[in-house]
């Protein structure tokens, strides 16, 4: 495995399977009453969050703590960053503190790549702009594998704002690596113009794709997209691309529904669907901690621990 986890495309099939298998072992720890392992004792993990994302930050924090790492949470708000400190100076500060891994969430695509030039520790991308979110893709793959068995040949449909979605980019890359068949469904305005070059299928017609899906992953639609005229109205979006009860019924009986959260209930997903037994949405959260433990363990633990 590479030293950093910045793009899901950095992972070979063996790398990805190693992370998923390691997560499977670590999942057993999470089921014990004492959830802690001593593996990363004395190592320092910095959570460097330039965007508010309590869910992702506490997931990484719990993962690092269960491996006994020291965790420093560095939130850009109220810090020197809000006073104009550059990403480079922040990186040099973390470097001086001896961070073994930096988990970075940043609003600018590519910020983790830049950070990796300035720190010696491992960089883990916890979401950069509209680029990637590789641990989300890994936890999604982990959740799918637990429900479906394997991913080879499975038909995964990802629905929503592909253009701005880091989750979609990472998922397309990782699922392709793992041998799944991905179909993206969105209004044409929310697909990159070059999506034809991606290793997946593309459709504008959700109803046609649903019966052929083993997994349907709904993406959050940001309210601000509506103001930028990507689609006429919330209601129209919901009618054409929302997963309501009627559409849910068109899915195969054993197909599952996923959502990376946070959800707009009633917009891209109906409440009944989100709460159904075939929804993995709550599992995804729990699996997030497990998969992030596996990533930190493999990047920091291993032979140098």
């Amino acid at each position: 495995m590479k030293r950093h986890l910045i793009s899901a495309g950095d992972l070979t099939k063996d790398d990805a399977l190693l992370i998923l298998d390691t997560a499977e072992e670590l999942a057993r720890v999470s089921e014990r009453s004492i959830k802690k392992l001593p593996t990363l004792r004395g190592r320092t993990v910095v959570n460097l969050f330039f965007e508010d994302s309590t869910r992702t930050r506490i997931s990484f924090e719990a993962a690092a703590k269960r491996l006994s790492a020291d965790v420093i949470n560095f939130s850009a708000k109220g810090s020197s960053v809000s006073k104009g400190e550059s990403l480079k100076d922040t990186a040099l500060t973390l470097e001086a503190m001896g961070a073994d891994a930096v988990v970075i969430r940043h609003g600018s695509s590519g910020a983790p790549h830049r950070l990796a030039n300035w720190v010696h520790g491992s960089v883990v991308n916890a979401g950069d702009g509209t680029h990637e979110h590789p641990t989300q893709a890994l936890l999604d793959a982990f959740s799918m594998r637990r429900r479906l068995g394997g991913l080879e040949g499975r038909r995964i449909t990802v629905v929503g704002d592909i253009l701005h979605s880091r989750v979609a980019r990472s998922n397309v890359l990782l699922l392709h690596t793992l041998g799944a068949e991905v179909t993206l469904v969105a209004p044409p305005t929310l697909l990159p113009v070059s999506v034809g070059d991606w290793p997946c299928e593309v459709s504008y017609d959700l109803d046609a794709v649903l019966p052929k899906s083993d997994v349907v992953m709904m993406l959050r639609v940001q309210k601000e997209r509506m103001n930028a005229a990507y689609f006429p109205s919330e209601r129209e979006y919901s009618r054409r691309y929302g997963l309501d009860r009627d559409r849910f019924a068109k899915m195969p009986d054993d197909a599952i529904v996923m959502h990376p959260g946070p959800m707009n209930r009633g917009m891209e997903i109906a409440a009944e669907v989100a709460d159904s037994a075939r929804s993995t949405i709550v599992e995804q959260v729990a699996n997030g901690v497990t998969i992030r433990m596996a990533v930190l363990y493999l990047l920091l633990g291993g032979e140098t621990a």
Partner: protein, 429 residues
């Protein structure tokens, strides 16, 4: 009096030049007398003229000054530059353009011709006092809101019409602003993968098409800055076929570099050293631009020399400033992309980097053919040299070059401004 021995005018047969009182007094064999300089068989070109330079003064003297920028120009073989108007304060009054013009005269490394803003403050709302700038000591003939597009069609029409009174030209930065809100790089395969907001080719092409039609309608001349797409080339070819008075420039970097460098380069992904406006495009665009420069559809090479301090580039991509320095590498990049590929000979290079830019800028003492009686604005260039680009050796105050560490052909040996050497043996005089 200076005698320059053994140079090849436009790459022709070896000859000697006698320079006296600022003009080329004699061209011949075995000339002697006065100070003798060995040209070593270098190619002699008329002093280069840049129609598109950012000197940053007044306002951003941390990035460049008239002094450092013109030293950089001389090092690159230039004897005249047009200083863009997007300074602080903006060059939208006779006072500011005269200040820049006087600074250029004072330092004397090359002629400085200020470009006047088309609109007050580059705001795109009200015409600046174009006539006052034209009548000033700086004698402004090129007007541009470069960095911003004059996107209001009525304002653009009026500007094109108005400058006819003093034979001016509007140099348009063609970028439809609504189509490029938050744009970070060329919209295409790479931007889709990298999750960077796209700058679509149509945003340039739509404005160029509109402006060509406007220029034809009002019978004025239009110059299009930094053409970057194959589609723009097609529109310009069509406009020229109609006989319309439209000229266009291409930058050295758009002749050589492509957008995939943002994803994969020796300096790492998302390195803002490649962030520039208009953005680097695809290989197909580069090929179309080269062909267009060769066949005259694109008239000239202009550097869009855009200096930025280190801290404005050592950032995440979206926070970084757009632009690259270019004066000191322009001729080498043109050699690499146009001469080594057989698309242009040295006469063709002289046309596109000296003669025609001087004509568009209505400069009288620049861009003249190297013949007896012509002003001695001369660039001596050794095309056989190979140089590893080292930004720390630049005369420019800024180092934001995309060519660092690259081996490029050619080296400017000497530059003469009206008979006075500004560069000798590759070093500033």
């Amino acid at each position: 009096m200076i005698v320059v021995k053994n140079v090849r005018i436009l790459g022709g047969e070896p000859a000697d030049l006698r320079i006296d009182q600022g003009v080329i007094a004699e061209i011949g064999q075995g000339l002697s007398g006065g100070e003798e300089i060995d040209g070593g068989g270098a190619v002699a070109l008329p002093g280069l003229v840049d129609l598109h330079t950012h000197l940053r003064e007044p306002g951003r003297e941390d990035a460049e000054t008239v002094q450092t920028g013109t030293r950089s120009a001389a090092r690159g073989g230039y004897t005249a530059v047009h200083a863009m108007a997007n300074t602080s304060p903006v060059a939208d009054t006779a006072g500011v353009v005269e200040q820049v013009w006087r600074l250029g005269r004072e330092f004397g490394h090359c002629d400085v011709h200020p470009v006047g803003a088309v609109t007050v403050g580059l705001e795109g709302r009200q015409l600046a006092e174009l006539g006052a700038m034209a009548d000033s000591a700086a004698r402004v003939r090129v007007f541009s809101d470069d960095g911003r597009c004059v996107d209001d069609a009525v304002l653009m029409r009026r500007a094109l019409e108005y400058v006819k009174a003093f034979d001016g030209v509007v140099a348009q930065h063609a970028q439809e602003p609504r189509l490029t809100q938050g744009a970070q790089m060329n919209e295409g395969v790479v931007s889709g993968r990298l999750g960077l907001t796209g700058w679509p080719a149509v945003a340039e092409e739509a404005i160029i098409a509109r402006d060509c039609l406007l220029a034809a309608h009002v019978g004025s001349r239009l110059h299009v800055c930094h053409v970057s797409t194959a589609g723009s080339v097609e529109i310009l070819r069509w406009a020229k076929s109609k006989g319309w008075d439209v000229t266009a420039e291409v930058t050295p970097h758009h002749l050589l570099l492509t957008d995939d460098l943002v994803e994969d380069s020796p300096v790492g992904a998302y390195n803002p050293i490649y962030k520039v406006n208009p953005p680097l495009r695809t290989r197909a665009d580069v090929e179309a631009l080269r062909a267009a420069l060769a066949d005259g559809t694109i008239d000239i090479v202009a550097t869009d020399h855009a200096p930025h301090p280190v801290e404005d580039k050592e950032t995440e991509w979206s926070a970084a400033a757009m632009g690259m320095v270019g004066l000191e590498t322009a001729l080498s990049v043109v050699q690499e992309s146009m001469v080594e590929t057989g698309l242009l000979d040295w006469a063709g290079v002289a046309q596109r980097m000296s003669v025609v830019p001087a004509r568009i800028g209505r400069l009288t003492g620049q861009g003249q053919p190297l013949e007896e009686g012509a002003p001695a604005n001369i660039t001596l260039y050794d095309p056989s040299a190979r140089t590893v680009v080292d930004p720390s050796a630049f005369a420019s105050k800024s180092r934001n070059t995309p060519y660092e560490g690259m081996t490029l052909p050619g080296r400017v040996v000497a530059t003469f401004l009206r008979g006075r050497p500004t560069v000798l043996e590759g070093k500033l005089v």
